[in-house]
């Protein structure tokens, strides 16, 4: 009898062990696919698989890769349990890769998925996710070009009064009357910076006026390439005005490329030379207020302009006039009155109207519970 009971107990224990083992058994990751990652340079493959149930016992995944005809190799770190995709960005172009997703349990047990079909990475020539951005760019460029063409035909373009630019002649006149110099600071941007190029164009216009009045124009630079470009530009402005003799190359010089040393140098010039007018035009960082306050303390008329929105409050507080953001880019058109520049300004305004209309429409639709315009704009990268 005892033997029978013993046999029954052993049988029951065996049955229970087998049942627990089966319930803890891992299922292999299902629907594993490997595809060439869209909109990339052809150096990555995206592997995807179905999410495992919460009670699957899977604690992570390991991705294995096989180059056609070669052995399997583990790639990357162990992925957490909830992961359903992985981008292999370590592939070499031209090779075909097959992938296996290995599920790993807490106890270290593993089970592999089926091997995917081999896939090669291919680079795309056009990023399809950027189509809306591309279309917007084309439309905006077309609007600017059309307006430039229209302005060239002789149509008058209205430009609102910009006090900061109206004051340019006043500042130059003041310096001339006082017999003092004009200090022009281009900020810290290099020649590849659009704000610096806008500033250089304004400098060219100011140089034409100072050439007429023979007012010294001092330009300390912090970028060697900018220095060489503006030397040539100011010289050309003086030549165009028929005053090459008034041009002094020594007035345009390299100070330093260090941010605060540059600010110290400019401040020193302000305090020593006491220029009657100070122009701060271009890209500025923390040094903006150091220069603007020093200019204010010496009583110079100051006209600032920048597209760095963080520095605008400092300029507004310390300078007499400030060109806010886009006004810096409008300055060339405003000062030169060139129809081509004026036309491009009107094109910019068209862009603003479209953006403003999209904002108003978006707000109305969002308030009405329709969110497609918001989700569309969020998708644009």
């Amino acid at each position: 009898m005892k033997k029978i009971i013993k046999c029954l107990m052993v049988y029951l224990v065996l049955c229970m062990s087998i049942s627990i083992a089966f319930s803890q058994g891992l299922s292999p990751p299902s629907n594993v696919t490997a595809v060439d990652t869209p909109n990339d340079d052809g150096r990555s493959v995206t592997i995807q698989w179905d999410a495992a149930p919460e009670d699957s016992g899977i604690s992570g995944y390991q991705i294995l890769r096989r180059i056609a005809g070669g052995g399997l190799e583990e790639i990357g770190e162990m992925l957490p349990a909830g992961t359903t995709s992985y981008v292999d960005a370590t592939i070499e172009k031209g090779n075909a890769y097959a992938y296996i997703v290995r599920a790993v349990s807490d106890t270290g047990a593993t089970v592999d998925s089926e091997e995917t079909a081999p896939v090669k990475g291919t680079g795309e020539w056009f990023h399809t996710g950027k189509i809306p951005l591309f279309v917007a760019m084309l439309l905006f460029s077309a609007a600017i070009l059309w307006n430039i063409y229209d302005a060239r035909s002789g149509k008058e373009v209205f430009v609102r009064r910009i006090p900061g630019l109206e004051a340019v002649d006043e500042a130059i006149g003041r310096a001339t009357e006082m017999g003092r110099s004009i200090l022009y600071v281009l900020g810290l941007g290099g020649v590849d910076n659009v704000a610096t190029i806008a500033s250089m164009t304004i400098l060219g216009q100011i140089a034409r006026r100072t050439a007429d009045y023979e007012t010294p124009l001092r330009v300390p630079c912090n970028d060697p390439i900018v220095l060489n470009v503006i030397r040539e530009m100011v010289r050309t402005s003086y030549l165009d005005e028929g005053r090459p003799d008034a041009y002094n190359e020594e007035n345009i010089f390299f100070l330093t490329d260090s941010q605060f040393a540059y600010a110290a140098g400019v401040d020193g010039m302000m305090v020593r030379e006491k220029p009657a007018a100070v122009f701060l035009q271009g890209q500025f960082y923390a040094e903006s207020l150091l220069m603007a306050e020093t200019g204010n303390s010496i009583g110079a008329i100051q006209i600032a302009g920048t597209d760095s929105e963080h520095q605008l409050p400092f300029f507004i507080a310390a300078c007499d006039y400030t060109l806010i953001g886009e006004e810096l880019y409008a300055a060339t058109a405003y000062l030169s009155k060139d129809p081509m520049f004026l036309g491009s300004l009107r094109g910019q305004d068209w862009g603003k109207v479209v953006i403003f209309a999209a904002i108003v429409l978006g707000v109305i639709l969002e308030l009405s519970g329709v969110g497609w315009i918001t989700s569309f704009l969020q998708r644009v990268r």
């Binding site: 190029i197 390439i225 220095l227 390299f254 600010a263 110290a264 207020l289 400092f314 953001g325 520049f341």
Partner: protein
Amino acid sequence: MKRQGPLALCFLFGIALIFTQFSPHSVSQKLYEEVIDWGLIITPFALVLAVVTLIETHITRVRRRTEHWQYSLVVFVGMAVMVLIGIPFGPQNSIVEWLYNNVQVPMDATMFSLLAFFIASAAYRAFRARTFEATLLLVTAMIVMIGNVPVGDLAWNTVLSWIPLEDGASKARQWILDIPNLASRRGIILGVSLGVISQSIRIILGIERSYLGGGD
């Protein structure tokens, strides 16, 4: 031809670099990196010219004995020391590093520290309540400043405890920064972005030629 060549190059490279922003292909990305490298190569050549102008400027100051000309001698001494040690032994040399860490860095920090005093003097001028706008600015600035310090909320919760809003000072500050401030900043950013695109189109098409040194 003196102008046409650079303008044609600017047009070609401008269009090509716009294309690289929309094309992830390795060829276009390689082109982008290559052009950036070319830009970096030009800088050292221009730097030589810049250093020459720096020396010329200070020689002139010394020769003419202009005001504070003695500081120009300090420029020459500093330049000579850094060049004589830096060129043969490299920028990682311990003396060069010591000079950088113990001379340039403290001087930069000194200039940066001055900003606090300049902000105070600029704020004093800006916040004088002479007009409606200046008064509005003053009130807004006061709210933001009070909301920025812990004592602001403490005072709010103690003095204005009858208002059913906890930590109102920091919440008011955050509202000002998140709503009116951010909205106006985004307006400026939108205008700037359109201005940048417009300026870039003018440069690519050769309408804007200031970067060529002016003239037609």
